[in-house]
Symmetry: C2
Subunit: 399 residues, 2 copies
């Protein structure tokens, strides 16, 4: 009889999106024909850019010709794509060797699978509110996490507590769900803390392409010392609309080397290489071809046009909150807008009012953790006119 | 300071392919201009079929149109593909519900990641010789494995030993590396043993499309009772040449339910659904579109034409061995031919003779485990004329 991994029993079921869906369905049943606007969505809606599509077609063609056909590729990704990612980092002023880049099918896989490299016996810090994957993937592996409070006082950007020792620290900036972005000074404090504690920062930069403000770091490796303490996860999901096309990349510096209890040292880069070579067979060649196009000058310009569209939506939402004096984070260098529910309403109370009174659907902040209570998330991934219409409808509730 | 997963220190480094590559490079350096034929390759070489290419192009087009654009898809795969896989099973006389099918980026990912569902405390059986991924992925997770001997007596098809209790059993049929195929009678004995022991069989059917003999099971689920004790992994890598395009699928029956130490039961299907929802974001939509075409009548016919090409190569190799009275497995319902090295030579001794005397490269059997000593693997994935030429060259050594 197999003994199953009972850590799975310790994962909290997330009822957030199921509960949203239930309430919306019930409303629709009782109010047929009502026009509901959905701004809860965390997924892109614009199609891929023309140049990326051309490159994907070219990739497909390559698979039809014996002279260009590609079978098994390198598990860490093709050199052409790792060099393109390295060049992209370079264009942002960050020096990353292609050998430190691992291509994958997405950042969700990598942030989840990276937990395998760590022993159960570690102090792991995650922010609250939090992207649930950070927590659940650790629980699945028998690990426990400690929370760092995000709140109005710290702008939902928790800072290191010198009294707390950590071994592994999750940071997501621009943040999902709060849209808050660490500036250089704050991120430097985290890097310094990690170096002092010999900790590893797992940095999720999935939304970096939404940063316009040149003073804000788009990569943890823009901070001095980070190559000795950080791993970065990124993807083309939000940069280039690859949520359904699938491609991510992870940067593991070769300097991340730690002693073992058996003597000697282990390198996280070497461990991840081994992990990926053994449990992964590389991202699709076709998708890697499309991805490489994203990192060309013209490809990136096309992707930026889509991001600009979403950012204009974010601006529309932010301006409506500003007009009503509502406190929020995000909306400027992020597709997410995270705000305090007006008039002291609870997250779900506000959700119900929006749904019932103006037929707008968003995401109750408390679904992302206790510190999200009384907060609410809207996203910029909707359609322009619908976003405008939603904010117009919401005005009377926000006032 | 993070405590790293020191189980990684227990993985044996496989020097097999590195050592082959080293010896070939050295030979080339010392013998410039010699024409070397490589029959060690375990990767397809023929391009994708026309209909699959068309479907992939269509998938790319869908990503360029707002009305057909796909963002995040279901983590377990689109319904259209799960239904196509279910239909394929049906056409082979096996009834599998689409809900029991999980689409992924490949069987290597799934066979590796499935180990997460099991506790460290299990008796895990793997064959020797073995596809190294089964062993390494268990070692990485702190588990140990027991070996079942494959040898000339059992035709490299180890059978259950009633004196040995197992919790988890790996079976690969048609086998990599030996090409041996379990018949219905032998596979039934394994299913009966698993049911008696309340064990789970992890069945790798990656090479099922090479089976022509209608009496041989192409799925463990062709055996009565298997839905109560087996998980099956398959992929389009060898069925349709997707080694670089990437797509796999795993079947987990809902009946696989086991008691927990905390009381109650856990379902492997539910655990895998949770695992994939948390650590995976679905296979590329574009690739899923191409994959669905494989399972149409016309798509499958085109794929079968490629398989027929490889099988003709296998026949050429088998006939050369037959002509010299050399014992072998595979070659008939498999792309692999696994044979006893002639004249009592060791695997590496034979390798060196082939390389130095006739410039043919194959794979020494002992690289797959102790029981591979004195055996050798050739594959049918080469080009037709090169395969013929290789066997002609080898004649004087095989005699």
């Amino acid at each position: 009889m197999p003994k199953l991994n009972e850590c799975y029993l310790d994962i909290k079921e997330s009822y957030l999106f199921a509960e949203i869906s239930r309430r919306v369905s019930e409303y629709e049943k009782n109010n047929p024909g009502k026009d509901i606007i959905r701004l809860g969505i965390g997924d892109v809606t614009l199609p891929l850019s023309k140049r990326v599509l051309d490159a994907l077609h070219k990739g497909v063609d390559d698979q039809g010709d014996p002279s260009t056909f590609k079978g098994y590729g390198p598990e860490q990704g093709y050199g052409f794509l790792r060099e393109a990612v390295s060049g992209y980092y370079g264009s942002n002023g960050v020096d990353i060797d292609p050998d430190e880049i691992f291509i994958s099918d997405g950042a969700k896989s990598d942030t989840g699978n990276i937990t395998e490299l760590f022993d159960r016996d570690n102090t792991i810090l995650v922010p609250d509110p939090v992207y649930p994957v950070y927590v659940d993937t650790n629980i699945m592996g028998g690990k426990s996490v400690k929370y760092m409070a995000g709140n109005e006082e710290n702008g939902f950007l928790p800072m290191p507590d010198p009294k707390v020792h950590a071994d592994v620290i999750y940071i997501c900036s621009p943040n999902n769900p709060t849209g808050a972005v660490y500036d250089k000074e704050r991120l430097t404090k985290w890097v310094d803390y990690a170096l002092d504690n010999h900790a590893v920062i797992l940095f999720d930069s999935a939304y970096e392409a939404f940063i316009d403000d040149p003073s804000l770091p788009r990569s943890i490796f823009a901070i001095e010392g980070a190559k000795k303490c950080a791993i970065e996860f990124c993807s083309l999901s939000k940069t280039a609309g690859f949520t359904g096309t699938r491609l991510g990349y992870t940067v593991i510096p070769k300097d991340l080397v730690f002693p073992t209890s058996r003597g000697g040292q282990m390198s996280l880069h070497a461990m991840w290489f081994r992990r990926q070579s053994t449990k992964f067979n590389g991202a699709s060649y076709i998708v890697q071809r499309g991805a490489a196009e994203v990192f060309t000058k013209e490809g990136m310009e096309e992707c930026r046009a889509n991001i600009a569209y979403y950012k204009e939506n974010a601006k529309i939402i932010s301006e409506a909150l500003d007009a009503n004096g509502i406190w929020y984070t995000g909306g400027k260098n992020s597709p997410y807008i995270w705000f305090r529910c007006p008039h002291g309403m609870g997250s779900w109370e506000f959700f119900d009012r929006l749904l019932n009174e103006v037929q707008v659907v968003g995401t109750p902040g408390e679904g992302f953790g206790d510190n999200g209570k009384g907060f609410f998330r809207l996203t910029a991934f909707g359609e322009r006119e619908r976003t405008k219409e939603a904010m117009k409808r919401m005005e009377k509730i926000l006032q």
